[in-house]
C-alpha cells in the first residue's frame, strides 16, 4: 500500500470542465486518474453528492465547491469511529478546522472553503472498502457526511 500523498490547493475553481486525466503509472505525484466535484449544498449541512466512488489505488482529485453560506471543509476519515475525536479537536482549534495533529486518522483533508470558494484536495484511494467524508467545521460532523467507496 502506498502512503497517501496529501495535496491541498486553495483557489477559485476555473470555469473549464476537468476531463478525467489518463492514468500514468510511474508518475503518480502529478497524474490524476479521476476528478470528482463535490459541493456543499446551498444552505443545508449536506454534501452533494452524498456518495462518490473510485477505484482503489488510483489518484483522485476532489474539487470541493462550497455553494453554501457557511464555511466547510472536506475530510476523508480513515476510521468512522474517529469522527467524534476529530470533530472535537477541530472545534477546539478553529482556523481550517482540521486537527493536523491527528492526521494519521485522516486519509485526506482540504483547507476551509469560505462560502462561494472552491478548494481542491488530491489523494490516492485507500484499500477497497467504505469510508466517510465529513466536514469538520464546528458541529457539522453530525450531519454533513458522505460515503466514499473505494472499488476493487
Amino acid at each position: 500500500m502506498r502512503f497517501p500523498v496529501l495535496v491541498a490547493a486553495v483557489g477559485v475553481c476555473s470555469a473549464t470542465a476537468v476531463a478525467p486525466a489518463r492514468a500514468q503509472s510511474g508518475a503518480a505525484h502529478v497524474a490524476i486518474d479521476t476528478t470528482i466535484t463535490v459541493r456543499a449544498r446551498t444552505s443545508t449541512l449536506e454534501f452533494d453528492p452524498p456518495a462518490i466512488a473510485a477505484r482503489h489505488g488510483t489518484r483522485v482529485r476532489i474539487r470541493f465547491s462550497n455553494m453554501g453560506t457557511l464555511p466547510h471543509n472536506f475530510v476523508v476519515v480513515r476510521d468512522d469511529n474517529d469522527i467524534d475525536e476529530l470533530a472535537a479537536a477541530a472545534s477546539k482549534m478553529g482556523g481550517d478546522y482540521v486537527p493536523v495533529a491527528l492526521k494519521a486518522k485522516m486519509i485526506a483533508y482540504s483547507t476551509l472553503a469560505s462560502p462561494g470558494q472552491t478548494v481542491e484536495v488530491t489523494f490516492v484511494m485507500p484499500p477497497a472498502g467504505e469510508y466517510t467524508y465529513v466536514c469538520l467545521m464546528s458541529g457539522h460532523a453530525n450531519s454533513m457526511l458522505g460515503r466514499l467507496r473505494s472499488l476493487r
Binding site: 444552505s43 443545508t44 453560506t69 464555511p71 472545534s91 477546539k92 478553529g94 482556523g95 458541529g139 457539522h140
Partner: protein
C-alpha cells in the same frame, strides 16, 4: 433552596419607611391641633376655620419643599391627564383622611366622648393595616383598593357623625380607619407604578399634594364647615345670654382693674374685656338687624367660656349653648365631607373597571419608583436634580414601499438606525391596504417610496383624510410617479414625475432658511435627474432646484394640505444618495416639518448611553468576498449596560404596544427558556454554564430551574423559588407526564414534585444521546403538543442512540424537530432542518413551525420524515418559507456572516391568543434574533399545503447594544413574554483570529470573552395597550368540568394546559363532555374550532379513540367538520383501516372515481383544503393498496391544483408506494397541462419519485415493463420516470435480463429524443451495462 423574596417586599418596606417619615409632620400637626390650637382658639378668639389654617400651615412647609420644581409640575400636568386626575384625587382623599382625623378629638370631645382615645384607635388600626397593605393589594389590585378605601372612609366618616356613645364612636372609627389606612400608600404607589416616567417628581407631587391639601384644604375646610354648622346650631337663648353678659361682665373688668391684676380673682381682665367686646359687637349688629349674626356670636360664646370666671353662671350657660352646638356642627361637617367619598368611589370605580377591561392593573416600573419615594422623602432637593428630562414623543412613521426595483426595503433599512437614533421610528409596509383610517391613526406621518401605479379610492381617501386632518406626509423620489389614477394625489404632492436622465449633481437652495431645510447641508450625489409635470403651485414652497443648462427644475418642496403638511424631494434613486448624510438629514428635517409642532424642535432620544473601554475588544468581520472570519477593525469601546427601565425605553415597539419588566437581575440570571404551570406561574431555566462550562455528570453544574411568581399581581415578579439546581447546560423545559421535562444534553431529564413543596423530589433520565461538544447545537424549545407528545428542536449536534424501539446511527438524526411521549418510551425524528435549530412553535391548527440558524428564520413541518423514510426516499430538509430573510436592526450590529440577515433565530413563536389585534391571531410569528437586538415579525399565510411567511420587519427593535432576546412566548395573559440574555456578545463562534492574543475556544466551542456577560438577565412582557381583560385563571385545582371548559379558552396556552391535565389525569369520566365539544361543527372567523380540535386530541390522549364507541363515532364525524384543522386531526387520529378509507371517500376528502364519475379537472369532489388532502394521502400510504385508491391517487395528482402544490407531489408518491407499478404506467400516460410549467414540474417530480421507489427494488421485470411504455408515454413524464429509474436502481447491482427483456429495452429506446436518449444512457451507466439499450 432558599426562597429569595424580592421586589415587592422591598417595595413594601420602602413605602413603610416613606410613610413613617410622612408621619413626622402629620404627628406634629396633630399635636398642634389637639394641644396647642384648641387653647389658642379660646385664647385668641378665632374661628375653627382660622384654627384649621394655622394647623394646616404646619404642613405647608413640608408641602412647599416638595413642590419646588413647579415648572416641571406644569410640564407634566400638561401632558399627563392621568397624573392630573391622580393629583386631584389625592386632594380629595386628603380631605377625607387628614381633615377629619385632625378634628376627631375636638369634635368627639365636644360630644362628650373621649375623642383622643378614638384617634388613638384609628391611628393604631392604620399602623397595623399599612404594614399588611401588600396582601390587600394582592387581592384587590391597587385601584380596587382605592375603591374599597373610598367606600369605607366615606361610610366611616358618615357613621362617625352620628356617634353618640363610645361604642358607636369606636365602631365608626374602625370602619373609617380601614378605609383611610390605604389611601396614601396606594395613591403614591399607583402614581409610581403607572407613571414611572414622572420619575421621583411624580412621587414628590403626589406626596406634596397630600401634605399641601391637608394644610390648605382638609383641615381648614372642616373648620369652615364646622363654623357654618355651629352658627346654624345656636339656640335662640344665645341672645339672652349675650345680653346678660353685656350687663354683668363690665363689673368683672372693673373689679380686675381695682385688684390691679391680682391672681386671686381666678380670671384675666384682658380675657373678660375681649369677651365683652365680642359680645357687644354681636349685640350691636342685632340692634340693626334684629337677629344675631351667629358666626361672631359663637366666637363671643367661645370667648365667654374662655374667661372661665369662677362661679359665674353665665360662663356655664354659654358653655351649655356652645358645647352641643360645636359637637353637632363638627359631626355635621364630617357628614358633608363624607359625601366627597362618593366622588372618589365614582372615579376609582371607573379606573378599576377600566383596568379589569384591559386585563388587569399593570405596574409600569416599581422598583425605581419606590426607591424614588424614599429619596424624595429623605432629600427633597436631591430629586430636583434627578428629575428626568422632558420626554418628547417619538415620531411614528409608516413607510410605504413595494417589491420593485427601487428596493424600498433596503433603502428604508439604510435610514432606520439613523432615524431611530433621533427619535423617529419607521414602520415598513408594502401593502397599500395599510392606508386605512385605523392603521394611519397609529402614525404621525406617512413616508412614500413606492412605485404602485394605482391606488384604490378607500386607500387614497384614507391618506388624504389623514393629511388634511393634520398628519404629515413625505413623498420621496419615485413616489411622485405612483398612484397615477388619483388626480387628488398629484395635487397633494404638488407635481408628478415626468422623465429623467442621470448624473452627478447637487441642488441649489432657494429657501435655505425654511424650517424644513434650514441647517441641512447640501450634498452632491449620483441620482436620476427628475423632471416634473402637472405642477400645483398652490400652497407650495419650492426649497431647492436642480439647475441644468440654466433651467431650474423644482427638486425639493413643501406644501400644506388642509391642516397637514407634505414634504417632497426628487432625490433618492439608490443607495448612493440614501447613504449621504445630507440626504438623510434632508428627509428627517422634511419629516419633522411635515409632522409639525414640537417635532421640529424636540427630539425623543431616550435615555443617554455611555461608551466604556473594553478590556477585550469586540470583533467585527469583513463582508464577502473576504474569506469567512476575516477580522475588521475591532471595537475597543462598547455601550455600558443600562438599568432595565432605561433599556426598555430604548426599544421600538409596534405602535400601541408597551413593554414592562417582569423579572431582572439579580433575582434571575440568563433565562434560556420558560413556561408556565397550571397556576399560571412561570417556570424558567436559568443557565449560568452556557455556553462554555461543560461538566461531566458527576460534577454538579450551576444551572437551575426557577419558579418565578408575581404573588401580588402587580406585574412584577416578587418571589423566586428554586425548583431544582446543580444542572449543567439545561436548555429547555416543558410540563408533561405529571412533572417537568428538562433538556440537558446529553440527557432528557424528568423532574417531579411529589409533595407540593415546589421542589424536585423525583429526578430521572428519560433517555440519553444528544452530543454536546458544541453547546449551541443543542436541544431547544420543548413544547407539549396537540398529539400529547413533547416536541423539541435540536441543532446540528443531532442525536445518536436508542430510545425504545427507535435507533439512530450517526447521520440519521441531525438538526431538526423531534417528538417523544412524556414517559420517554420512544423518540421520533420528525423533520430535518438545514442547520442549528432553536425555535419551535405550534399553530392553533396544529402545524409545527420553527426557526433555523443562518438565513432560515421560518420553516414548518410539511410531512414527517417517517413517511419519506418509509418509502426509502431521501430526507427532505425543511426549506425556509420567508419571503425575505432580512433583519431590520435600529443600531449597528456585529455579524460574522449572513450579513443583514437572520443568523440566530433563537425563538419562533406564533401568536395564539386573542389579546392582540386580529391581524396577529394565529398568523403573526415572532422570531428572536439576539445578535441584531430584535424580535422580528412574520405574517404566516396558507400557500396550498405549505405556508408562506411574509417578513413584517420587527415586532421589537432595541437600540441597546446589550439587548439579546433569546426566547419569546405567548403567556397565560395573552401578552408576549421575552427573555433577554442582556449581554454584549450573544455570538457563539467563530473564535476571532489574530485579535491581540484574544480569544480561546471554550469547551462548549464558543469563543471565550469577558464581554459574554453573566450578571444580567431580564424577562419582560410586551402587551397591546387596548388589550381586553384576561381574567385571572388557574387550573391546578380545577374540576374535570372546568378543565373541559378550559378547552374553549381563547388562549391556546390554557387549552393545551387543560388538555395535558385531562390526559395526565387519565380518567375517562370526561369522555361524554369531550364528545359534546368535538361534535360542535361551528367555526370562528379564523376558520377554526379550537375546542373541537383539543377535544379530539384529548380523546386520543385518553385512549378513547378507537376504544370508546362514542368517541370513535365523533372522530369519524369530524371528517365532515367545516374546520379544516379538525378534519386533519381526525385523519391523524383515526385507526388505519378499511373504514377510514371508506370515510375518506365518503367525506369527499379524496376523489373517488367510482362514486363521482371523475372525468377531469371539472366536477371533482375533493377537500378544499390542501393540508387535508395531503394528510389523507399520508393515510393512504399507511393502508394496503387497492385499485380504488390507485385511481384516486392518479386523479389527485393530475388535478392541476395538486400538481402545482408545494408538497402534494411528495405525498402522492408516498401513497403510490403502496400500489403496484401499474399506477406509474398509468400516470406517465396522462396528459400534462400545456403552458403550466409549475403543474408539469409537480407531475414530473411525483413521477420521478415513484419511479425511484420502484427501481430501488432492483426488480428487472418491473423496470423493463415500465421502460417499455416510454414510446407511448407523455414525453416529460417519460423522462421523469427514466430519471427516477436511473437514480433509484441500486449502485453496482447489474440486472440480469433475458433476451426478450433486452429486446424490449432496445425497442423502447429506439428513436428516442436526445433528452430521453440521455436518460437511457444514465440508466445504462447505473446498471453498468453501457450497451443495454443498443442493438446487439
Amino acid at each position: 433552596m432558599a426562597e429569595s423574596s424580592s421586589l415587592s417586599d422591598a417595595k413594601r418596606k420602602r413605602l413603610l419607611v416613606g410613610i413613617c417619615l410622612a408621619l413626622i409632620p402629620t404627628g406634629a400637626s396633630f399635636a398642634l391641633v389637639s394641644n396647642i390650637l384648641m387653647p389658642l382658639k379660646q385664647q385668641f378668639i378665632v374661628t375653627n376655620f382660622q384654627v384649621g389654617l394655622i394647623g394646616g400651615a404646619a404642613l405647608w412647609g413640608m408641602a412647599l419643599s416638595l413642590l419646588i420644581p413647579v415648572g416641571e409640575m406644569f410640564r407634566y400636568t400638561r401632558t399627563k391627564p392621568f397624573f392630573i386626575l391622580m393629583l386631584a384625587m389625592m386632594a380629595v382623599t386628603t380631605s377625607l383622611e387628614v381633615g377629619p382625623m385632625r378634628w376627631v378629638p375636638s369634635v368627639l370631645q365636644s360630644a362628650g366622648l373621649y375623642g383622643i382615645l378614638v384617634l388613638v384607635w384609628i391611628s393604631g388600626w392604620m399602623v397595623v393595616l399599612r404594614t399588611q397593605a401588600g396582601h390587600a393589594v394582592e387581592r384587590l389590585q391597587p385601584k380596587g383598593m382605592l375603591l374599597v378605601a373610598a367606600v369605607l372612609t366615606g361610610s366611616g366618616l358618615f357613621l362617625l357623625s352620628f356617634a353618640t356613645s363610645m361604642l358607636t364612636a369606636f365602631a365608626a372609627a374602625t370602619v373609617f380607619a380601614w378605609g383611610v389606612a390605604f389611601f396614601f400608600p396606594t395613591m403614591v404607589g399607583v402614581v409610581a407604578e403607572k407613571m414611572p416616567r414622572t420619575g421621583s417628581l411624580g412621587i414628590v407631587l403626589t406626596a406634596g399634594m397630600w401634605l399641601g391639601m391637608a394644610g390648605a384644604i382638609g383641615v381648614p375646610l372642616l373648620g369652615t364647615l364646622a363654623d357654618r354648622y355651629l352658627a346654624q346650631s345656636l339656640p335662640a337663648s344665645t341672645a339672652d345670654v349675650l345680653k346678660q353678659v353685656e350687663q354683668t361682665f363690665p363689673n368683672y373688668v372693673l373689679r380686675a382693674q381695682l385688684a390691679d391684676g391680682q391672681p386671686a380673682l381666678g380670671y384675666r381682665e384682658r380675657e373678660v374685656a375681649d369677651a365683652l367686646a365680642a359680645t357687644r359687637a354681636v349685640l350691636a349688629v342685632q340692634q340693626q338687624t334684629v337677629s344675631i349674626d351667629n358666626d361672631p356670636a359663637s366666637n363671643a360664646l367661645r370667648a365667654i367660656v374662655g374667661t372661665a370666671i369662677p362661679d359665674e353662671p353665665l360662663v356655664s350657660d354659654a358653655n351649655n349653648i356652645l358645647q352641643p352646638a360645636e359637637a353637632a356642627a363638627g359631626q355635621r361637617s364630617f357628614r358633608s365631607v363624607a359625601l366627597a367619598a362618593l366622588l372618589l368611589v365614582v372615579v376609582f370605580g371607573i379606573m378599576f373597571a377600566g383596568d379589569r377591561r384591559r386585563g388587569g392593573y399593570r405596574a409600569v416600573m416599581i422598583d425605581a419608583a419606590a426607591a424614588a419615594l424614599l429619596l424624595t422623602l429623605l432629600w427633597p432637593s436631591f430629586t430636583q436634580a434627578q428629575a428626568p428630562a422632558p420626554h418628547a414623543e417619538r415620531l411614528r412613521v409608516l413607510f410605504l414601499g413595494d417589491n420593485g426595483h427601487h428596493q424600498p426595503t433596503a433603502r428604508a433599512k439604510q435610514l432606520l438606525p439613523v432615524m431611530a437614533k433621533d427619535g423617529v421610528d419607521l414602520f415598513y409596509t408594502d401593502d397599500r391596504d395599510d392606508l386605512n383610517p385605523s392603521e394611519l391613526a397609529r402614525y404621525h406621518a406617512v413616508m412614500l417610496y413606492n412605485n404602485h401605479l394605482t391606488v384604490t379610492r378607500p386607500q387614497i381617501s384614507a391618506l388624504l383624510d389623514f393629511v388634511s386632518k393634520g398628519g404629515g406626509v413625505v413623498v420621496l423620489h419615485c413616489a411622485s410617479a405612483s398612484f397615477q389614477n388619483s388626480e387628488e394625489f398629484a395635487k397633494l404632492v404638488g407635481a408628478v414625475f415626468k422623465s429623467h436622465g442621470t448624473g452627478t449633481f447637487s441642488t441649489v437652495r432657494l429657501a435655505p432658511d425654511h424650517p424644513a431645510i434650514k441647517g441641512v447641508p447640501t450634498f452632491e450625489s449620483w441620482d436620476e435627474t427628475y423632471v416634473h409635470a402637472r405642477h400645483n403651485p398652490v400652497d407650495r414652497t419650492v426649497l431647492e432646484v436642480r439647475r441644468e443648462n440654466g433651467r431650474d427644475e423644482p427638486y425639493t418642496w413643501v406644501r400644506t394640505y388642509g391642516k397637514g403638511r407634505m414634504f417632497y424631494t426628487a432625490w433618492g434613486h439608490d443607495e448612493r444618495t440614501w447613504g449621504q448624510p445630507g440626504f438623510q438629514q434632508l428627509v428627517e428635517h422634511g419629516l419633522r416639518w411635515a409632522v409639525g409642532g414640537k417635532a421640529l424642535t424636540q427630539m425623543a432620544t431616550g435615555p443617554k448611553t455611555t461608551l466604556v473601554d473594553l478590556a477585550v475588544p469586540l470583533p467585527t468581520y469583513k463582508l464577502p468576498p473576504s474569506p469567512w472570519n476575516t477580522l475588521d477593525a475591532p471595537l475597543k469601546q462598547a455601550q455600558a449596560a443600562l438599568p432595565t427601565r432605561e433599556s426598555l425605553e430604548l426599544m421600538t415597539l409596534r405602535p400601541h404596544f408597551s413593554v414592562t419588566p417582569f423579572a431582572t437581575e439579580p433575582s434571575i440570571g440568563n433565562i434560556i427558556d420558560f413556561t408556565w404551570d397550571a397556576r399560571g406561574r412561570m417556570w424558567a431555566v436559568e443557565t449560568n454554564d452556557y455556553p462554555n462550562t461543560v461538566l461531566p455528570d458527576s460534577v454538579p453544574g450551576h444551572d437551575r430551574i426557577l419558579i418565578i411568581e408575581d404573588t401580588n399581581r402587580d406585574g412584577l415578579a416578587d418571589k423566586v423559588k428554586v425548583f431544582a439546581e446543580g444542572l449543567n447546560l439545561a436548555t429547555s423545559i416543558a410540563f408533561a407526564n405529571g412533572g417537568v421535562i428538562v433538556a440537558q444534553a446529553p440527557h432528557m431529564l424528568f423532574f417531579k414534585d411529589t409533595n407540593g413543596d415546589d421542589k424536585a423530589d423525583v429526578r430521572k433520565i428519560l433517555f440519553t444521546g444528544f452530543p454536546r461538544n458544541d453547546t449551541h447545537g443543542s436541544i431547544s424549545n420543548l413544547r407539549y403538543g396537540f398529539d400529547n407528545q413533547v416536541w423539541g428542536s435540536v441543532g446540528y449536534n443531532g442525536f445518536r442512540g436508542t430510545v425504545g424501539p427507535s435507533t439512530y446511527a450517526r447521520g440519521q438524526f441531525g438538526a431538526g424537530y423531534f417528538r417523544f411521549p412524556g414517559d420517554g418510551s420512544n423518540l421520533e425524528y420528525v423533520a430535518r432542518t438545514s442547520n442549528n435549530t432553536w425555535g419551535v412553535a405550534l399553530s392553533e391548527d396544529n402545524f409545527v413551525f420553527g426557526s433555523t440558524a443562518n438565513n432560515r428564520p421560518s420553516n414548518f413541518v410539511h410531512i414527517p420524515l417517517r413517511y419519506y423514510r418509509a418509502m426509502g426516499a431521501r430526507d427532505t430538509t425543511l426549506p425556509d418559507i420567508s419571503d425575505r430573510q432580512d433583519i431590520f436592526p435600529v443600531r449597528d450590529i456585529q455579524q460574522v456572516d449572513q450579513f443583514g440577515k437572520y443568523t440566530a433565530g433563537s425563538a419562533h413563536e406564533l401568536y395564539t391568543a386573542r389579546a392582540f389585534p386580529s391581524e396577529y391571531w394565529n398568523r403573526a410569528a415572532f422570531v428572536a434574533e439576539p445578535t441584531a437586538h430584535v424580535i422580528g415579525m412574520f405574517d404566516i399565510t396558507d400557500d396550498g399545503s405549505a405556508f408562506a411567511a411574509k417578513n413584517r420587519w420587527s415586532f421589537m427593535a432595541s437600540r441597546d447594544q446589550w439587548a439579546a432576546p433569546v426566547q419569546v412566548k405567548v403567556g397565560p395573559d395573552g401578552a408576549i413574554w421575552v427573555s433577554d440574555f442582556y449581554t454584549l456578545v450573544a455570538q457563539h463562534n467563530p473564535t476571532p483570529k489574530n485579535m491581540g492574543g484574544c480569544c480561546e475556544t471554550g469547551t462548549g466551542a464558543a469563543y471565550e470573552t469577558p464581554n459574554r456577560d453573566r450578571l444580567h438577565g431580564r424577562i419582560y412582557r410586551i402587551s397591546y395597550d387596548s388589550a381586553h381583560a384576561a381574567p385571572a385563571m388557574r387550573l391546578d385545582n380545577a374540576s374535570p368540568q372546568q378543565l373541559v371548559h378550559a378547552l374553549t379558552n381563547d388562549n391556546m396556552f390554557w387549552r393545551l394546559t387543560a388538555q395535558r391535565l385531562l390526559v395526565e389525569r387519565g380518567k375517562t369520566d370526561v369522555v361524554p363532555a369531550l364528545i359534546e365539544l368535538a361534535r360542535n361543527q361551528t367555526i370562528d372567523d379564523r376558520g377554526l374550532n379550537p375546542a373541537a380540535l383539543h377535544a379530539l386530541w384529548t380523546l386520543q390522549g385518553l385512549g378513547a379513540i378507537p376504544g370508546n364507541a362514542g368517541a370513535l363515532k365523533v372522530a369519524r364525524e369530524a371528517l365532515y367538520s367545516p374546520a379544516a384543522s379538525v378534519r386533519r386531526a381526525a385523519l391523524m387520529i383515526l385507526p388505519r383501516n378499511q373504514q377510514l378509507l371508506d370515510d375518506i371517500f365518503a367525506a369527499n376528502i379524496l376523489p373517488d372515481r367510482g362514486s363521482s364519475g371523475y372525468t377531469g379537472d371539472a366536477g371533482v369532489l375533493e377537500d378544499a383544503d390542501a393540508h387535508v388532502r395531503l394528510e389523507a394521502l399520508l393515510v393512504l400510504s399507511e393502508l394496503p393498496g387497492s385499485a380504488r385508491e390507485a385511481a384516486s391517487i392518479l386523479d389527485v395528482m393530475t388535478l392541476r391544483a395538486n400538481a402545482r402544490d408545494p408538497w402534494i407531489p411528495d405525498a402522492v408518491p408516498m401513497a403510490a408506494a403502496r400500489q403496484g407499478p401499474s399506477l406509474l404506467r398509468d400516470l406517465v400516460h396522462r396528459q400534462v397541462p400545456v403552458n403550466d410549467s409549475m403543474a408539469v414540474s409537480g407531475l414530473k417530480r411525483a413521477t420521478q419519485k415513484i419511479a425511484r421507489f420502484h427501481a430501488a427494488k432492483a426488480d428487472a421485470p418491473t423496470v423493463v415493463e415500465l421502460i417499455s411504455v416510454v414510446p407511448q408515454a407523455t414525453p416529460p413524464l417519460a423522462l421523469a420516470m427514466l430519471n427516477g429509474i436511473a437514480e433509484g436502481w441500486p449502485q453496482e447491482t447489474p440486472p440480469q435480463f433475458n433476451a426478450e427483456q433486452r429486446a424490449s429495452l432496445v425497442t423502447a429506446a429506439r428513436g428516442a429524443s436526445p433528452e430521453l436518449a440521455d436518460a437511457f444512457g444514465r440508466i445504462a451507466a447505473r446498471w453498468g451495462l453501457p450497451e443495454a439499450f443498443k442493438t446487439q
